[in-house]
């Protein structure tokens, strides 16, 4: 089973590795090989329409904190799998049963296993389902940038593991065509993704939230290929857009860069002298080096770091002066600065510019992102010629993560909208017994747009029962963008009921 987010501690390199991992996840951690053809059956609107929802219904929602119950679920599960051998056995079982075709799933054995390993945990998760608050304050703002980066978050990985258990229970519900139970498990999973994603404002948390959400989406994909599966159009539509919002995380992580210099007094616009500049460079290097090490970007001892910083100051002096000379504050005065001060001030300037670029593109609404992503990428990317101490390397490491995180957000939304569109097609087929000629012709409910392009998904009807639907690439080089839809007939009993 492909499970790239598997670090037990989910720590230092979270932002980078996870973002890249999530981007590389095939089809939202689908349980099976990537589905090229979806075999679907027509589906009527449930009665009442919101009989199945993947988000707690308004009347069910309770003010209260879901986080302690999720934590308790994790602990209870850990207790049920106390030894390393038990955990390994459990992992092997999950891997096997999640990859296995639904028709081969040994239902009784799986139920028995889940009963022994996760019954108490499920109980806590069910209690968390309708508690809409998330209060899990780790006081990250109180930490220095290096402490923040080095913060280990094993609970995130545990939540993701817990979601796999829920995923398996959902598969059993699909196999047994218990659609109410499936909807409840997906609801719980979506809430757990929500809690993971918003337990703090780190990008890593959002990404784990997306990963859990994607697992639940894969249950939907699997379910709608089963005969008698009800329409989940409104169930999916019930998922709030706020579930995916990543902007706060971008803003919060920008604080990391700001925190590097929070201990600095304001430098003002008068030269501070070489000695003071060197002192501040040492402080910046120390905090920055710790941040590097904490983020797992570079394991460098303080001696080699200081050697590098010394060489950087010497070699970056001239380009630093050139950079400062182009600013209104230092125009015509940059040559008067000592090398150390020029490099320090240029570094801080680059740092601030990077942070602002980071933040400004995060403000861009989704529907403009597709058109401006490459410009954002160019703006965020720094070249090795940029005169700063080591933030070029740092920013170059972080920037791809930022872009990948944004793509992860859009991809998660895309999967939901794609499934909603397929559900609209199933509704249409229920009414007309054929696939629609185009997405514009869908009745009675519309298709949703591809959030990457803000345009409808590309749809082509091949025959009355066969069509293809394509979405925008989810990451650079993504060629797996087309699904075939094969419309099967309703089972005889359903047809008779209709």
């Amino acid at each position: 089973m492909n499970d790239p987010i598997s670090s037990p501690m989910m720590s230092p390199i979270w932002t980078i590795i996870l973002a890249i991992s999530v981007v590389l996840l095939p089809e939202a951690t689908s349980a099976q090989e990537p589905v090229k053809t979806l075999h679907v059956v027509p589906a009527a609107e449930p009665d009442p329409a919101l009989r199945y929802v993947f988000w707690p219904a308004p009347e069910q929602r309770i003010q209260g904190n879901a986080a302690p119950f999720i934590t308790r679920a994790i602990m209870l599960r850990a207790e049920a799998e106390a030894t390393a051998q038990m955990r390994q056995e459990s992992t092997d079982r999950y891997n096997e049963w999640l990859e296995m075709p639904l028709s081969e799933l040994p239902i009784e054995q799986v139920n028995d296993f889940l009963d022994r390993h996760a019954k108490a945990a499920f109980h806590e998760l069910e209690r968390a389902e309708t508690l809409m608050g998330i209060d899990y304050d780790l006081r990250l703002r109180d930490l220095s940038s290096s402490e923040m980066v080095a913060t280990v978050l094993p609970e995130l990985q545990s939540m993701r593991d817990m979601a796999r258990v829920l995923w398996l229970r959902g598969r059993v519900a699909i196999a047994e065509q218990r659609w109410e139970d499936l909807a409840r498990d997906i609801r719980i999973g979506m809430r757990m993704g929500n809690v993971a994603g918003y337990s703090n404002d780190l990008l890593i948390s959002r990404l784990v939230g997306y990963a859990i959400t994607s697992q639940m989406m894969s249950l939907v994909r699997e379910a709608i290929q089963q005969p008698n599966c009800p329409s989940f159009y409104w169930a999916l539509a019930a998922l709030p857009d706020s579930l995916y919002d990543i902007r706060n995380a971008f803003e919060f992580e920008s604080i990391l860069l700001a925190k590097l210099t929070t201990s600095f007094p304001p430098l003002g616009d008068k030269p501070i002298g070489a000695e003071r500049a060197r002192e501040l460079i040492r402080s910046l290097a120390s905090e920055g080096g710790a941040m590097f090490a904490g983020a797992g970007l570079a394991s460098i001892d303080s001696q080699k770091r200081d050697l590098f910083v010394g060489i950087a100051v010497v070699s970056l002096a001239e380009p630093s002066r050139e950079l400062l000379d182009k600013t209104s504050t230092w125009a015509g005065r940059a040559n008067n600065l000592s090398s150390a001060e020029a490099v320090l001030r240029a570094t801080l300037l680059r740092l601030e510019r990077s942070r602002h670029n980071w933040l400004k593109w995060a403000m861009m609404p989704d529907y403009l992102w597709a058109d401006y992503a490459s410009r954002a990428e160019a703006d965020l990317g720094l070249t090795p010629d940029d005169p700063d101490l080591f933030f070029v390397a740092l920013a170059n490491q972080l920037v791809p993560a930022v872009l990948a995180a944004k793509r992860a957000e859009l991809r998660t939304k895309q999967e939901r909208n794609l499934l909603i569109t397929i559900e609209a097609i199933r509704r249409h087929a229920f009414e007309t017994k054929t696939l629609p000629l185009s997405l514009d012709a869908l009745e009675p409910v519309p298709a949703w747009h591809d959030p990457f392009s803000n345009q409808p998904f590309s749809y082509q009807r091949i025959s009355e029962t066969k069509a293809s639907i394509s979405h925008s690439p989810r990451q650079p080089g993504d060629e797996d963008v087309t699904l075939e839809i094969q419309l099967n007939s309703l089972p005889a009993n359903e047809e008779a009921a209709k």
């Binding site: 070489a274 000695e275 060197r278 001892d301 050697l307 010394g310 100051v313 001239e318 380009p319 000592s338």
Partner: protein
């Protein structure tokens, strides 16, 4: 123009050169090397005199007349065949290019590195010649083999061919200062060896490094050397050498003051200790400088710790 006027003009020019040279002062000198140690006229007329900005820290001079790559590689192959295989140097091609440069009246080639070398992506190359166009063509043919992103180019300035990556050429404009470059002073110190290298940090650079570099290299390096102390104490290092068949290396190290020289001797002794027996190097103190001489036998032993063919 009659002969008298011509003679007067020549005398005036010579006088100007000499008097200019006499005015030259090496800034911040506290070391034993004085401007008087070298021929002042040589400084005034040296091809590099306008191309050594204050940020320069290293000059390398190769005497093309004293380069025989095939002979050198043959000697190295005799003493350390693995090095030849490792680098795969085409000595014949080097000698051919050298012959072309010499045919174009180029006898020396200089490499100048400044503290901007990383941004410049390479040093400035300076080749004096009476036929600079021919030299530039030879250099261009060599540069064809360099990566295109280096944007290596040449420029002709007053009997000099300047060559290097685009950025270094753009930044290398002729500039004459009153004070002679201390690098040039050291480069011109008389020695019988034809090839030279001088390393000397600008004062501010030295101070920056002395403030920022660590006191030790780290536990994983077995040399007990303090980068901070060495850079604070080291004023310059000059290396002069001759190539095979009779290779020789002469190294001179200047300290910032007498105490610094003593500390350097102690620090560098750590490095000297690493040389293989029985060719232990001797770091001598001469005229307030540290001096190290390596003869052919020692060099052979250092490039290949295994017994050479001759000694078997």
């Amino acid at each position: 123009m009659n002969a008298r006027i011509m003679l007067t003009a020549m005398f005036a020019i010579c006088f100007s050169v000499v008097s200019f040279a006499q005015q030259l002062r090496v800034s911040g000198e506290t070391s034993p090397i004085l401007i008087n140690d070298v021929d002042a006229a040589k400084i005034a007329l040296h091809p590099l005199r306008q191309y050594l900005p204050p940020s320069s820290f290293m000059v390398l001079e190769i005497s093309l007349l004293d380069v025989d790559a095939e002979e050198t590689m043959g000697w190295i192959e005799d003493h350390a065949p693995s090095i030849v295989q490792l680098f795969g140097i085409d000595a014949t091609a080097i000698d051919k290019k050298n012959a072309l440069l010499r045919a174009a009246d180029a006898t020396r080639i200089f490499f100048v590195a400044s503290t901007q070398i990383a941004q410049h992506r390479g040093p400035l190359i300076v080749i004096p010649s009476s036929q600079p166009e021919r030299v530039a063509k030879v250099i261009a043919s060599i540069a064809d083999q360099f990566p295109s992103e280096l944007k290596f180019g040449t420029r002709i300035e007053d009997g000099l061919v300047l060559a290097g990556p685009e950025q270094v050429l753009a930044d290398s404009q002729p500039s004459l200062t009153k004070e002679a470059s201390p690098l040039l002073v050291r480069l011109l110190r008389s020695t019988e060896l034809p090839h030279r290298f001088v390393f000397m940090l600008p004062d501010e650079t030295r101070e920056d490094l002395a403030a920022l570099w660590p006191k030790s290299i780290g536990d994983d390096v077995r040399i007990e050397l303090s980068p901070r102390q060495v850079v604070a104490d080291l004023k310059s290092m000059s290396v002069h050498w001759g190539l095979p068949p009779q290779p020789r290396i002469h190294i001179e190290i200047e300290g910032m003051n007498d105490a610094a020289v003593m500390r350097l001797q102690s620090e560098l002794q750590e490095l000297v200790k690493l040389t293989p027996e029985p060719h232990k190097l001797l770091l001598l103190m001469q005229d307030g400088r540290l001096v190290l001489d390596l003869d052919a036998e020692t060099i052979a032993a250092m490039i290949n710790p295994l017994p050479s063919r001759d000694s078997q």
